[in-house]
């Protein structure tokens, strides 16, 4: 399949597809970060994670509409506000869900999977009732459109670079919160030993709720990024949930670096293969490779060495 292209062409193709894959990479990283926090730290399988992402996407869409109708002068900056709103909306819903549903199921991880699947069905229907079954698209401000010309054959989309920078910032922020802040220390303490953490005075229930909220909030931000690569519909989130779980598992749960590395390799493989074959076959090959590697190395790329 590479035979028809010269070496220089191939280089350009890889670079171009690589940058085209940046947004996909960003969505994967943000989705997987939230999931890695919830699954890796708390052991809860959140099948409704895609729906939290879509909530963020709908919030972005509503913000963009609001700015278009009432504040057209500030339209170029709406995306920043939209992301904050998406984070708040998804995070708040996440905390509510944790309080109503998840906290009863911490001892039964497989059951969280079933219950959150039920939740995702209800959320999908709610979106369909509120926003309609038609998919909606978000209009981007002028400065995000277009691309940078690096060389004659290489162009880099601006929105990709923007989302990428944002993802890096958020990732650094999450890493800082988890590993340097007092609250992050509490989260890790609760993960390692819930009873002992409670005994030294940590309010484990509160930590759980905020952790879940944070994970869902980041999914909301992922939804904002998602509006740039696809149109938002009630069931769009479902398409990403399996990919995201694979990203988390492939990277090795509870490893932040692993999550980023696996999101990068999966999104880049898929985006590069898409140039050479149909999108569906590219996806099949990528997923097959991931499942194959997981069968050889079930603990994922970067596994923490722990005794069970």
């Amino acid at each position: 399949m590479f035979g028809d292209y010269s070496l220089g062409d191939l280089g350009s193709i890889f670079v171009m597809q690589g940058f085209a894959g940046l947004i996909l990479f960003s969505v994967y990283v943000l989705m997987a970060l939230g999931l890695a926090i919830i699954f890796g730290q708390m052991g809860v399988i959140n099948m409704a994670h895609g729906e939290f992402m879509i909530l963020g996407a709908y919030v972005t869409w509503m913000t963009s509409n609001f700015f278009q109708s009432y504040l057209p002068g500030l339209f170029s900056g709406y995306f920043f506000l939209a992301m904050i709103l998406a984070f708040v909306a998804s995070g708040a819903l996440g905390m509510l869900v944790e309080w109503v549903l998840i906290r009863h199921l911490y001892k039964r991880p497989l059951d969280t999977l079933l219950a959150t699947w039920g939740l995702s069905l209800m959320l999908q229907q709610a979106y369909r009732s509120v926003f309609g079954a038609r998919e909606v698209g978000v209009e981007l401000p002028q400065w995000m459109l277009g691309s940078l010309h690096v060389t004659d054959s290489i162009e880099v989309p601006i929105n990709g670079v923007f989302v990428m920078c944002l993802t890096v910032l958020i990732t650094i922020g999450v890493a800082y919160v988890m590993y340097k802040s007092r609250w992050g220390r509490q989260v890790r303490a609760v993960v390692q030993n819930r009873i002992m953490a409670g005994a030294v005075g940590i309010n484990t229930e509160k930590v759980d709720r905020y952790t879940f909220g944070l994970g869902c909030g980041i999914a909301g931000v992922a939804g904002s990024a998602f509006t740039m690569i696809g149109s938002t519909g009630p069931t769009s989130g479902q398409l990403y949930i399996v990919d995201t779980f694979l990203v988390v598992v492939f990277g090795g749960a509870a490893s932040l670096i692993g999550t980023i590395a696996s999101a990068f390799s999966i999104s880049q493989t898929q985006s590069t293969l898409e140039f050479f074959m149909s999108g569906s076959m590219a996806k099949v090959l990528t997923l097959l490779a991931v499942v194959g590697i997981l069968m050889l190395r079930p603990q994922g790329l970067f596994a923490l060495k722990v005794r069970k």
Binding site: K107, L113, L114, G118, L119, L246, S280, V284, L287
Partner: protein
Amino acid sequence: MTDNRFFNRSEFIGILVLAVFLVVVLPLTLDVFRLNLVAKYLTYAFVALGLVICWGYGGILSLGQGVFFGLGGYCMAMFLKLEASSVENTKIQSTPGIPDFMDWNQITALPLFWKPFSSLTFTIAAIILVPGIFALIIGTAMFKRRVGGTYFAIITQAVAAILTILIVGQQGYTGGINGMTDLRTLKGWDIRPDHAKIVLYFFEVGLLFACIMIAQFVRHSKLGRILVAMREKEDRVRFSGYSVANFKIFAFCIAAVFAAIGGAMFALNVGFMSPSFVGIVPSIEMVIYTAVGGRLSILGAVYGTLLVNFAKTSLSETFPELWLFGLGGLFIAVVLAFPNGLAGIWGDYVQPRIDRLITSRKPKPDGWTDSSVADGAPAE
């Protein structure tokens, strides 16, 4: 007399009631269209039955049972499709004698892997063996490396996603998103008219009871007890010298074969097969049936499947908007409030009263029943 290796007395009564319900009551009260719907629902009951052994007893939650349902269904559909695409039936095509969707996709010769499916014997063997071997490979790869629980669930889900994308993408070989439609005859016997539907229904019920008997046998054998022990404390079973992986592989394979039989019956009863029964969503729905019926109850799986599907059909006919809310709510309710499903409600509330009414004079311990297994925490 009724206590043997398959069932004890109360289970015998339960099976008898189910048999009367399926063989006598439903055919007498429903018209052929509704009976065919029941036949369609019962194909899912095979999957639910497999999940009882694999998930309820073995503690292995597979979210990819649709894969095996689909493999079985597609094997059957390929045979039926080949028979429906004889040269006389397809003489308007540019290449007569191959299935219509191949002709539409500019394929001019029958692909090699299709050829053996012109033999019914091979097809029946393939329905059992293809999913069985596939499950064996996945199971060996995962369980020998002690991958289980949530990881396994996610991997099986990925497999379901892969297979769906593959079937949809390879339109020329599989019929794509529309699947294989217009299946007509089985060895010259037309499967479409009403009397054929009735014959197929009874054949399917017979197969279902054969599978129930296998499930009962597994449950009452030593194997079944090791599965339960493994679910509760895997390490202790391993320390006792059992190969935990092999038992898990067996449970997974048997669930896969049951699902495949269901899929094959689906293709026969409904007359088509499509990727919409393979993917993640149908696979999880099949888990719902088992969860509603009670993950530990073999008969509960059948009732759960029938109940959820009846509810789905009638609700989505009358209130299409509400159906997803209902299904989602049902799922949350079952997980939160009734982890043992219908069978749990029956065992906790109804059965004791009946027992008290019948055997108020001679109390005797009943040994190995659902409730004795159901005690304690559910799987994982």
